[in-house]
Point group: C2
Chain length 408, copies 2
């Protein structure tokens, strides 16, 4: 049998098949003994294993974790495949810690400019016609560079996660209570200790918003707002109010503390924009990324792209610091307002390189570079920062965060 | 504020909104005290909660489990929403218990009718171009009625689960090793103590098959074949060999013990069909179902449908024991070879009723009733049993398995 080597990596004019051969960097294996397979019988095949049990668990070598700080914990994007986030790794961002809510005592009140103010139990919500959808939820503050060139994808932008959510459409509840014509906004209030509140414009969310009580098949996790949260696909995370207890209909925004003190974006001209709800298109290369090391030869550049405005139209990847761009493959189906996996096969010649990704959504919006973002928003804005970022590959194979792309 | 009652449930000529009102069966709530909301401040809002942590967990009231027997454990379909199965609730079915495989020592050998017999490490597999897809895996023996009318969806057909799988295409590996033109089948061998083996026809799987190493974003769970399994979308579960260690290319099937002694289907005429790989279209109403009870009025009939042949085209639901059928709504996107959530709003008048579901896939295949199945296959077949089944609703609100539909 053949032993494989990486030495073929830099040959020119080879077929795709041979190129793929060269992607295999691990040590070559010589088969020994055995009958039909030419393999030894492994330990796992020498005696029966444990029988099935009540609940599966991760393999010991595959333990994953979020990285908690006092106000948030982040999804380990660099360790994940595909597009779905395991529920126990969905990011957390709380304003006053985790609210523990008794599902039996849970109540959601809808009132204000409605004909029939009504309070619903959790069973009430579950009995209504239901809908499911796959989408991301992202915190608008999902841009951190605390560790300079040693920043991981998890640290940089781990405040985005994707789930299949199930619940009752907000439109169904609004029909139920008889929302009056003059109502154009509603207040959503959570029952955490912050009584987290946001104002939401009805017309922008009514087609897709739901009160979600399930996530990835099961009940929403406490960290995501158990037993029920507001889900506004494409809107910044904080407006997807968790532990939802109240919706109040009105004819304008409520100007709550959170949205006047925090969720406004200072602009370059000294004014501020308010109600910047929608998540702009963004992308991140998750592999290769810090702290991994790579070897010369063929490798697949992998990442995630998403937009609060709809589907990702394309993702472009540069391997030369932004001079030229190639179109990455998008994993189908490309769903609206959803994490979209992109991939590009690349033959790294072993010389220092800078790899970047740039997302374009179906509205034509192009993920900006840092200078354009600063020109538009000034330097004091803390939210909705979505610049093109990337990674520097050194001749030693180390991968570091391409911080110079965002601090210019 | 309004208190709600269920008394409106049986009125005729009401609007949809009013009908929805009547779906709410829980006790009416009277609001008390409070300022802006008219609500009391709940305990969760009286003090800050715990800060974010490394790993989320289910709410205490929402613990779920599979039901293990010595050879399998089943997904609690009646407790799940949407289409995705949490990884720790994915069904298990082992032939010799759970194989524990060291990922560092893991090897996959591809040999037989190939130009370059090759052994791959796990890192090798992960470095190849990758693909992701959402699909179900179902055991071909997924039809059990051990508890008669007290059978739950989990017991009846909990040997089907859905995940987003990521891995390397089998076609990529086959290009790599140079599969010879005369090779038409391959053997897949696992490294459990059963050395589970199945023969697979290349042309039927090569477009979609993958060696999967990730599931729902993270590494495959040990129960699903960690660190790598064969994934054959639409093919019966046992052919999706777990803990995969060997693929041998040949010009015909291998007639292994499992596929000659077990996975053949005795027919009515005394012959047997072999290589009944593809999962036929099927559906199951998951709510209402045993052991739940229901109240008269509007309720949403919910269930899952799937087919190994492609997309679900439609699901029909009968509420009168099969005399008349209504088309259920399908949750979009409807993916090929994937669990598809269906829903139908129904106003139950409180009289005994029998509710059934019937799936039709994109090939036009119609899920059969039991008599047709018996006529085609005889009574000795144990696999690929997918009859129309349902639930009987009693005047007392109890829901029981409609076993008469399948024992005729």
């Amino acid at each position: 049998m053949r032993t494989r080597k990486t030495s073929g990596a830099r040959r020119g004019g080879v077929t795709r098949r041979r190129l793929l051969t060269s992607t295999l960097g691990a040590a070559a294996v010589t088969l020994r003994g055995g009958a039909a397979s030419g393999q030894e019988r492994p330990d796992s095949a020498s005696r029966p294993g444990r029988p099935p049990n009540e609940l599966g668990a991760r393999a010991p070598a595959e333990q994953l974790k979020r990285t908690p700080i006092p106000t948030s914990s982040r999804t380990p994007l660099q360790d994940l495949h595909g597009t779905m986030t395991p529920s126990d790794l969905h990011f957390e961002r709380h304003h006053s810690g985790l609210a523990v809510v008794d599902p039996v005592g849970y109540r959601l009140t809808v009132h204000g400019m409605v004909d029939r103010p009504t309070t619903f139990t959790l069973d009430d919500l579950k009995r209504f016609p239901s809908v499911s959808r796959i989408c991301f939820v992202e915190c608008s503050g999902n841009f951190v560079r605390t560790n300079g060139e040693k920043t991981t994808p998890q640290e940089l932008c781990g405040l985005t996660s994707q789930s299949e959510w199930t619940g009752v459409r907000l439109a169904t509840l609004f029909d139920e209570v008889g929302v009056r014509p003059q109502a154009t906004w509603f207040l959503a209030e959570g029952q955490d200790a912050a009584l987290m509140t946001r104002s939401v414009p009805i017309k922008d969310v009514i087609d897709e918003a739901m009160i979600a009580y399930a996530q990835n098949g099961e009940a929403i996790r406490p960290e995501q707002g158990y037993p029920a949260r507001l889900l506004l696909p494409g809107f910044e995370g904080n407006s997807n109010v968790k532990w939802l207890r109240r919706l109040e209909l009105a004819d304008g925004p409520f100007m709550t503390r959170e949205e006047t003190s925090t969720y406004t974006d200072p602009l370059a001209d000294g004014t501020a924009r308010q109600f910047s709800f929608v998540i702009d298109a963004r992308s991140i290369i998750t592999s290769p990324s810090y702290p991994k090391t790579v070897q010369p030869g063929w490798l697949e550049i992998r990442g995630l792209a998403w937009s609060g405005r709809g589907r990702i139209e394309r993702v472009e990847v540069s391997t030369d610091g932004g001079r030229t761009w190639s179109r990455a493959q998008l994993q189908a189906p490309v769903l609206p307002k959803a994490h979209t996996r992109f991939r590009l096969l690349w033959n790294w010649d072993g010389r220092p390189a800078e790899i970047l990704s740039r997302a374009v959504d179906e509205t034509g919006y192009v993920q900006p570079e840092w200078p354009a973002l600063v020109a538009a928003r000034g330097r004091r804005t803390r939210y909705h920062l979505n610049p093109v970022t990337g990674w520097r590959l050194g001749a030693d194979g180390r991968v570091l965060f391409g911080i110079e792309r965002v601090s210019a």
